[in-house]
């Protein structure tokens, strides 16, 4: 139980252990602890920043949405106005076209009436002539009364 040279051996072992711990064990471990602490702090800060950015983005999105709504409302109003205008325009055009068609038809009808009149006149004159021929018979010489006949037919 007495103190002896074992003491010296133990002191040497102890010194070596402390030296080794001081040189190779403590610094890397404490450094990794510190680094991790820093990393976690940075991560938390980044998360907070991200949250803030999300908040901002949400705000922006909301304002954009409102703007878009307003714009679309404007566009719709414009489109309705334009559609109304178009309807009015086409109404006008249709009216004019109808009138034009009506006029054309009237003109045609008039023309046809004239034509019919003309052809009727010719037929009547021919009929009248033939009737007169039949009535008068040979008494009337075509060549003699040619002048009178022409006058009559012109009067028709």
């Amino acid at each position: 139980m007495s103190i002896n040279a074992t003491l010296i051996g133990q002191m040497i072992t102890f010194t070596l252990l402390v030296w080794f711990t001081m040189k190779y064990i403590w610094p890397p471990l404490i450094e990794s602890l510190e680094l991790r602490k820093k990393k976690i702090a940075e991560g938390l800060a980044a998360a907070e920043r991200g949250q803030e950015q999300i908040h901002l983005a949400e705000k922006k999105a909301k304002s954009l949405l409102i703007q878009a709504k307003e714009e679309s409302a404007g566009i719709i109003t414009l489109a309705q106005k334009r559609a109304n205008e178009l309807v009015e325009e086409s109404k006008d055009v249709a009216k004019k076209e109808g009138e034009r068609l009506l006029l054309a038809a009237k003109a045609q009808i008039e023309q046809e009436i004239q034509q019919t009149k003309e052809s009727l006149r010719k037929e009547i004159s021919a009929l009248a002539l033939s009737a007169a021929e039949q009535i008068l018979g040979a008494e009337i010489d075509k060549n003699k009364h040619k002048e009178i006949l022409t006058k009559v037919s012109k009067q028709l």
Binding site: M1, S2, I3, N4, A5, T6, L7, I8, G9, Q10, M11, T13, F14, T15, L16, L17, V18, F20, T21, M22, Y24, I25, W26, P28, L29, I30, E31, S32, L33, L35, R36, K39
Partner: protein, 258 residues
């Protein structure tokens, strides 16, 4: 079973046998080979564990080993930061080494008392005492090393003259100089002695009780050795912790300039 094996020498023989170190040499130059071997082996275990953890250390998600190592490191670091308010690259690693090494020494106490001596006797070793902290040489080696550091830092921080002044003029002023010196010397020398004897006494007594339990009939042994072992888990950790904390406190006192 051991009781029968040593029946010839009786209970005293059994106890003495278990508490005698395996030694070579004569007089002062006696070496307790078992103490030297086991403490170096346990120190190697400590170094191996922490070196592996340090090599694999990552700032990312730590593994089980690194987690455990970091837990111990943080625990020791907190203790050091609580009582030492300077900057020192030595104190924290020193505290870690002391805590782990003493804990491992003490832990050997929890192995059944007959295992190692039986294995030793099979290997032809007449005596084998496996708990280094039941050897005064081991505890004193540590406390004397700490004492040397206390003196070294006292002189380094306060200067030789400052340290001498503290020894001579405190606490009662220059007129009671011899008395101051005596008081201070006792105070300083009490530090390593109390450190070493506290650890030695606790572990020696604990080991002795395990040996005494080993003397009882086998059917009574578990009823006593189990609670004592559970209680001992507390003691071995506490003793390692006390040694570490006192070392930190003594060294921070050495760093303080009055």
């Amino acid at each position: 079973m051991a009781t029968e094996a040593h029946a010839a020498e009786g209970a005293t023989g059994y106890i003495v046998h278990h508490l005698t170190p395996f030694s070579v040499g004569e007089g002062f130059w006696t070496l307790h080979l078992d103490t030297l071997f086991f403490s170096a082996f346990l120190g190697g275990l400590f170094i191996w564990f922490f070196k592996t953890a340090a090599d694999k250390a990552t700032t990312g998600v730590p593994g089980l080993m690194q987690n455990f190592a970091e837990m111990l490191i943080e625990f020791v670091d907190t203790q050091v930061k609580d009582s030492f308010h300077g900057h020192s690259t030595l104190i924290a690693p020193l505290a870690l080494t002391i805590f782990c090494w003493v804990f491992l020494w003490n832990f050997m106490d929890l192995f059944p008392v007959d295992i190692f001596s039986t294995v030793g006797s099979l290997m032809g070793l007449e005596y084998l005492r496996v708990v280094p902290s039941t050897d005064l040489n081991a505890t004193f080696a540590m406390s004397i090393s700490v004492f040397c550091l206390i003196i070294f830092y006292s002189i380094k921080i306060k200067g030789p003259w400052g340290f001498a002044k503290e020894l001579l003029f405190q606490p009662f002023g220059p007129w009671l100089l011899p008395f101051n010196l005596l008081l201070k010397l006792v105070e300083e020398i009490a530090k390593p002695i109390s450190l070493a004897l506290r650890l030695f006494g606790n572990l020696y007594a604990g080991e002795l009780i395990f040996i005494l339990i080993g003397l009882l009939p086998w059917y009574i042994q578990p009823a006593l050795s189990f609670p004592w072992a559970v209680f001992h888990i507390l003691i071995i950790t506490l003793q390692a912790f006390i040694f570490m904390v006192l070392t930190i406190v003594y060294l921070s006192m050495a760093h303080e300039d009055h």
